[in-house]
Symmetry: C2
Subunit: 230 residues, 2 copies
């Protein structure tokens, strides 16, 4: 069956969307192969058929599923005999809290820290859109945000604290093996890794060590697109 | 078998510890009865036998378990045939993230908002200890924190956002029924409810509505100690 994942790309094959990485990893976890269709922010006509304006969009035969959370639930329900993403219903409902916390707390803290670097790596066609949209969202210019990187990085440290403490106690967010929880958080860190030389995590940190294990999964899937090495 | 929960109390039977409420609710979820032994902050000699300086401590026959997370795991492992707190291993590992996030992000945001009210409701014997310990922790006087209540409440709103969004989509953090995840977050809200007239949650909010359902659990267990009605 033909299966396509429409995902966001920047310059030089930088696939930086944290949401698309959640889905990439979830598909690999289920052992399901997929073709990637790379799109810019401003190529939304490519996914207009889905009714969504956001990436990722998964097309599988006649099925069209937009939104990374819905895709994860779709994969779990459609392929119950393949390795579970959630480890049961309790796990699925709890993963939704992590999903929501990551969207509303972790992602903004990361974006504030690396937004200038994202801006440097998007396609030329997206430059105008990105500046207008993000400056309106943050009520600051991109240059002002760039100049605040150091203090923003300090705030990000606070946001990372609960992740750090959990990973001191268990190897994966899912417990003894990676689960969709791990892919949610990994997407957030693969995003800066794709576009920014700024080390949002550093060695001698439980989050950094866990990220190294994540990069090694599925034949180093996370190394298969352009990224910074740190 | 004799079973005793050593828990923190303030004036007038105000059982305000969020950690003790996690355990109270977990015991009720398992259908396990317990005697409560109320202690002040400065009565730690009462729990010296446990090797812990913090409440709650559960004593069950010869077993002594300190720390609300360890107690939850102990109850789940000791009573596997009673209703599950975690809904499986995946759920347990994910609950640990919520536990850690609540300890490190939600609790400080709540405490900064209501610390003066906590101070008004602790036992006289604890006043000196509480002021010295909390002022050192926050590097501010209690009076200065009191005067910032409004701006602190605004920051708390941001911290509550992921909880609010999850509860717009599902009735309980555990999914279709309450689980330990619900007790973790409920403890955080029963704490201000026990000592503060300041409404940290208000009607027409998914968190408020969920809290009302939580208060109704186990024959209104959360109404069995002195509290503010809002």
């Amino acid at each position: 069956m033909k299966r396509t994942l429409y995902e966001l790309t920047g310059k030089d094959d930088r696939r930086f969307s944290p949401y698309c990485w959640r889905t990439r990893m979830a598909l690999a976890h289920k052992g399901i192969s997929v073709d990637y269709e790379a799109c810019c922010f401003t190529e939304k006509d490519k996914i207009a058929f889905s009714g969504s304006e956001k990436y990722p969009v998964l097309v599988e035969g006649d099925e069209i599923v937009a939104d990374s959370w819905k895709i994860a639930c779709y994969l779990e329900d459609t392929y119950p005999d393949k390795p579970s993403l959630f480890g049961g219903d309790g796990g699925r409902h709890m993963a939704y809290f992590l999903n929501t916390w990551t969207d509303t707390q972790l992602h903004p803290a990361i974006l504030r820290t690396i937004i200038w670097d994202v801006f440097q790596h998007i396609n030329d066609a997206d430059i105008e859109y990105f500046r207008a949209d993000r400056e309106a969202r943050f009520k600051q210019t991109l240059e002002a945000l760039r100049d605040e990187q150091e203090s923003r990085a300090e705030e990000l440290e606070k946001t990372l604290l609960p992740l750090r403490l959990v990973l001191k106690k268990q190897a994966w967010f899912g417990g003894n093996a990676p689960s969709y929880d791990d892919y949610i958080v990994f997407g957030a860190l693969q995003w800066p890794r794709s576009v920014s030389p700024f080390p949002v995590v550093k060695p001698d940190d439980s989050v950094y060590e866990w990220r190294s294990r994540m990069i090694g999964l599925f034949d180093n899937l996370a190394d298969s697109t352009t990224h910074y090495d740190y």
